[in-house]
């Protein structure tokens, strides 16, 4: 449904995104995850046809977003991060305007406006001036204008930013239900959100894609560099030194917790060192109080990936 190849965008000398490549299947909900200024908005703007890439191509529903921009735009619903709306219009007249410029006419248009008012739970607010709506309701109007023409692809830039927690939950449910019969790309810097809503995640940092996978696979893949956490009583220096001697141990960190110390061991991918480590510690006569593997959360993966990028650079 969406094919992005080697997308690169410069703003003057500033490199916003570099060689971004990914595909999105029909009916998939894809999460775009990254810290601020990572290039999420730039990528989405290019896909939505707001600006062209410096190089590379992007196709939406088979149409090139630059060469066949008009055809591509007909099939896209887009909500920018700032949710720019005409604040002096009522909700209904605003949606009517958007339905018209997106090609809906007559009876079908009115029917569809009523539908989206219903879907976005704006029914009670149809004649309210947008300028008087709270941020949460404006967000709903933003989503309503994006879906009014029943686009095949929905692009939502930070759809839950700046709204209260109850509305965040509702918005996520709404996005999930919208994703049932169309392709959705959403960006976020909130990890649990992406984990909850999206079927696949792209992690982007400093303009480059650092990981693409299903949320559960991402954790599994990075379980490669699995961590073992344990609580041990004994001399810190000796424990660290002998742990580091073990084959497959990449790094050892510790923090003291009263009488005992908590050690975190980074192991090389695929190795399971639990038994060996337990053996070692017990053998040396230290007190092994607790030992467990630590599965990395999406948050850890995210931090790890983005930190790694930074230390390389």
């Amino acid at each position: 449904m969406i094919e992005v190849e080697n997308l690169t965008k410069y703003y003057g000398d500033f490199l916003a995104i570099e060689n971004v490549t990914f595909q999105v299947q029909k009916g998939e909900i894809l999460g775009f995850l990254g810290p601020n200024a990572a290039g999420k908005t730039t990528t989405m703007r290019i896909l939505a046809g707001y600006m062209p890439p410096s190089s590379g191509t992007a196709k939406v529903a088979g149409f090139d977003v630059v060469e066949q921009s008009l055809e591509a735009r007909k099939r896209i619903g887009y909500m920018p991060e700032t949710v720019p709306l005409y604040t002096d219009m009522t909700v209904e007249s605003y949606l009517d305007f958007h339905a018209t410029i997106k090609g809906l006419r007559g009876k079908k248009k009115q029917q569809r406006i009523d539908e989206v008012l219903d879907i976005c739970r704006l029914g009670d607010y149809y004649d309210v001036i947008i300028g008087k709506l709270s941020k949460g309701y404006r967000q709903r109007v933003g989503i309503a204008q994006a879906i009014v023409h029943e686009p095949e692809v929905l692009i939502l830039d930070e759809p839950t930013i700046g709204i209260d927690p109850k509305q965040v939950v509702e918005t996520r449910q709404l996005i999930k239900s919208l994703g049932r019969d169309r392709t959705v790309i959403l960006s976020s810097h909130i990890l649990p959100e992406v984990n909850m809503v999206c079927e696949r995640v792209i992690i982007i940092n400093e303009g480059r894609v650092v990981a693409v996978d299903r949320p559960e696979n991402l954790s599994a893949a990075l379980k490669g560099s699995e961590q073992i956490q344990m609580e041990v009583r004994g001399a810190i220096k000796e424990i660290v030194a002998s742990l580091r001697e073990l084959k497959g141990v990449q790094d050892v960190t510790w923090e003291s917790a009263g009488e005992n110390n908590i050690f975190t061991v980074d192991c090389s991918p695929g190795s399971d060192l639990r038994e060996e480590i337990a053996h070692l510690i017990v053998g040396k006569g230290w007190g092994l109080i607790n030992l467990q593997t630590k599965r990395m959360s999406l948050e850890d993966i995210f931090l790890k990936l983005t930190m790694k990028e930074e230390s390389e650079a």
Binding site: R45, Y50, M51, R73, I101
Partner: protein, 237 residues
Amino acid sequence: MRNTLAIAWKELRTYFVTPMAYVVISVFLLINGYFFAASVSGSFAEASIRGFLFPASFILLILTPLLTMRLLAEEQKMGTIELLLTAPLRDTEVIMGKFLSSLAIVGAMLALTLWYPVLLFWFGNPDPFPIITGYLGILLVGSAFISVGLFTSSLTSNQIAAAISSFGILLLLWLINAAPQFIKGIPPGIFDYISPSVHFRDFAYGVLDIKALVYYLSFSAIFLFSAIKSLEARRWR
């Protein structure tokens, strides 16, 4: 065409939910009423609308920049241009829709002065032809002014900057026929030809010159085309 009308309709609505349309129309009518009353009640009173047409063209020069400054500058300032440019619209449709909305306001202002000629016919015996060409001329002048304002509004997100620059361009062009008094070496006909005020004179005296008609239409077309290109260029920044 439907898209163009949808944009025109939306803009018209905005003119009337904000005080803009009411203020501009009222000021226009107030000042024109003053000039018209003066022209028909003095000792050189004549049964024509010329006494209203010349001041009206100059008042339009001041008011249309205020009417057009919002059209694209505000979209850029509020970020709404992002949704406008990502909607399946052609840039031409966006510009023409906005142009038509302002033209409708200018048309409405002029329509509200139509009772001046009615009064003339009631109390006198005016020549109808200069009245018809006069109204056609001033509508063409209005359309030329709007196209300049729309162009400057496309260049900036600051409404005031858009208004001042379009006012500057219009005033300079309006008065440029006086340039031969101090610029030598360039045939004075050229200045006459590019100045919109010179071409307007014929209309006011009842002369329907095809050259003047072409002049105003191409004047508008050049600036509308520039506005379209300026909008298009936004996509490439």
